[in-house]
């Protein structure tokens, strides 16, 4: 942790969580520039969005209901 401070690293991590919470479900990259994608990285655009719960592909509604009580994020 020599190049950046622990506080900076935590801020970057928090920004990532916020991006996920805002609906970004995957992060694309090109070179060094990380760009949030707005869809799950599926193989087709013809199906519903889905969420991931420990590898399970679920509808967002199912994902909401499956989330254990007291857990707020993925």
């Amino acid at each position: 942790m020599s190049a950046i401070s622990r506080r900076t690293a935590l801020a970057i991590a928090a920004a990532g969580v916020a991006a996920v919470a805002a609906g970004a479900t995957a992060v694309g990259s090109r070179g060094c520039a990380h760009r949030p994608a707005t869809r799950a990285a599926g193989s087709t655009d013809t199906v519903l969005d889905y969420v991931d719960r420990d590898g399970w592909m679920l509808t967002p509604a199912e994902g909401e209901r499956l989330r254990p009580a007291g857990q707020s994020g993925s």
Binding site: G42, S43, T44, V47, L48, Y50, D54, G55, W56, M57, L58, T59, E62, R65, L66
Partner: protein, 462 residues
């Protein structure tokens, strides 16, 4: 009968190198067509031959891997076979999305698959069993059951006077051809008991079929010649290239399904089928998918996700573990080559270089995800994708495919659609080495089917 005396070459219409499922099926079919056949087998009737050059693997199938699937005794590697039999689909033989194309269409193989199923003690009605499952996917079980051991089942037929002679303990080590390389003129073999090499001179009307397994076929046809000329049979320069396995991904995923997967499978056969789901042709082309059978195992309603889905929908759901049986696309960089190391008979040892490509890993993940997306869209289930298993824990199924690939074009294949080496009139290859691509199907059924088809070609020769 088993040959114990000196071999009289003139006595035979066809010489077959190897007594595995391809060699024996071919020999018996030729005998039925009243042709006289000699089969060379390195091993004995009961014991495999040791001391022969074996292979060394590199890549995903490293070290001794391939030797565990190369058995040199009467009956060949059927001694180790697990007994799974299923046909290839149209999309396995012609998939424009990934550039795979056999020079044979499926209808040309169907009658031979049916005949092969009987040889392999399977019901022809079940080796191509297929029912719709959900849109884009079909239920396509793989019939299983006791494996046919050719060395046991056909021993009496081979030992008797039925038109087939078997030269046990004798290994073919080389071929000679005429100057124009249009026909094989002699076969050189080693008699292990006597410790000597002997030539067997052939007339133009006599045929030679190399049926020594995916590794053995490449090893034989790659052996360098003392005169430095191209090895007989490798005029294309492609022998050994396009080596393929069937990558297997144990527990690549899980699924919960509303419907019982095996509802179509006859009750009497419930325990003798591997229950698998595959993407159909149109969906495969739409998504660029290729061979990937999702074997669904351990059906259970007693699973958290099955209970969750049942509670969500008010309808019963079942949970299954998924193991993926898959295809690797042919690649010239996956190949059998020879090492400088030689055995006591001068045969160079083969080394097998075989790495599963990124496309092949992604194909497994994509198939699972498209299946999951389909179930989500239909509201009929869910899929869990285990990328750790897919990308880090690949295994194999012991299949050695593609090393003498079949095709119409002599510049891109070793044998023609009749399994005849391009340019020759009497040199043929039998076995899974002629597969231009692997599909996901276990190969033995098609190995035997192509051998039966080849028998008709050889029998027609004058």
């Amino acid at each position: 009968m088993f040959v114990t005396d000196r071999i009289d070459a003139a006595a035979y219409d066809c010489v077959i190198v190897g007594s595995g499922p391809a060699g024996i099926s071919l020999a018996l079919a030729l005998a039925k067509a009243r042709k006289r056949v000699l089969v060379f087998e390195s091993g004995d009737a009961d014991q495999p031959r040791s001391g022969l050059s074996n292979s060394i693997g590199y890549g995903h199938y490293a070290g001794e891997y391939w030797n565990g699937h190369w058995y040199r005794a009467l009956g060949g590697t059927s001694a180790l076979w697990a007994g799974w039999c299923v046909t290839h689909r149209d999309i396995d033989l012609d998939n424009p999305a990934v550039g795979v194309r056999w020079p044979l269409a499926r209808p040309a193989l169907v009658p031979y698959w049916n005949a092969a199923a009987e040889i392999l003690d399977r019901d022809p009605a079940y080796v191509a069993f297929e029912k719709p499952f959900v849109p884009g996917f079909v239920y396509r079980p793989v019939p299983t059951g006791p494996a046919t051991r050719f060395g046991t089942k056909y021993r009496a037929a081979l030992e008797g006077r039925g038109g087939v002679d078997v030269a046990l303990g004798r290994s073919v080590v080389g071929f000679e051809a005429n100057a124009s390389r249009s026909h094989v003129t002699s076969v050189t073999y080693v008699d292990h008991a006597l410790g000597i090499r002997r030539p067997l001179t052939l007339a133009p009307g006599q045929s030679v079929v190399v049926a020594a397994g995916g590794m053995g076929n490449a090893q034989l046809l790659l052996q360098p010649r003392e005169d430095g000329a191209v090895p007989v049979g490798n005029e294309s320069g492609l022998v050994g290239q396009f080596l393929m396995e069937h990558p297997e991904f144990y527990l690549a995923g899980e699924c919960v399904l509303e419907a019982e997967l095996d509802r179509y499978w006859p009750e009497a056969n419930k325990s003798t089928g591997m229950h698998t789901i595959v993407a159909d042709g149109p969906l495969s082309i739409q998504h660029g998918l290729y061979g990937c059978a999702l074997q669904c195992m351990k059906k259970s309603a007693d699973h958290d996700m099955a209970r969750f889905m049942t509670a969500e929908s008010g309808r019963p759901y079942f949970h299954y573990d998924i193991t993926a049986h898959t295809e690797m696309l042919p690649s010239p960089s996956n190949r059998v080559v020879l090492t400088p190391e030689r055995d006591r008979w001068g045969l160079h040892r083969p080394s097998a270089h075989c790495a599963i490509d990124a496309r092949d890993f992604q194909n497994v993940e994509r198939t699972l995800r498209v299946f999951g997306e389909t179930l989500i869209r239909l509201g009929q289930g869910g899929v869990r994708v285990n990328n750790d298993r897919i990308y880090r824990q690949a295994a194999g199924e012991g299949h050695t495919l593609g090393t003498t690939r079949m095709g119409d074009n002599p510049s891109s294949s070793v044998v023609d659609p009749d399994c005849r080496v391009h340019g020759y009139d009497n040199l043929f290859v039998a076995g899974s080495s002629v597969f231009p691509s692997g599909g996901y199907a276990n190969p033995t059924l098609t190995i035997v089917a192509l051998a039966l088809r080849l028998a008709e070609t050889v029998a027609r020769r004058k």
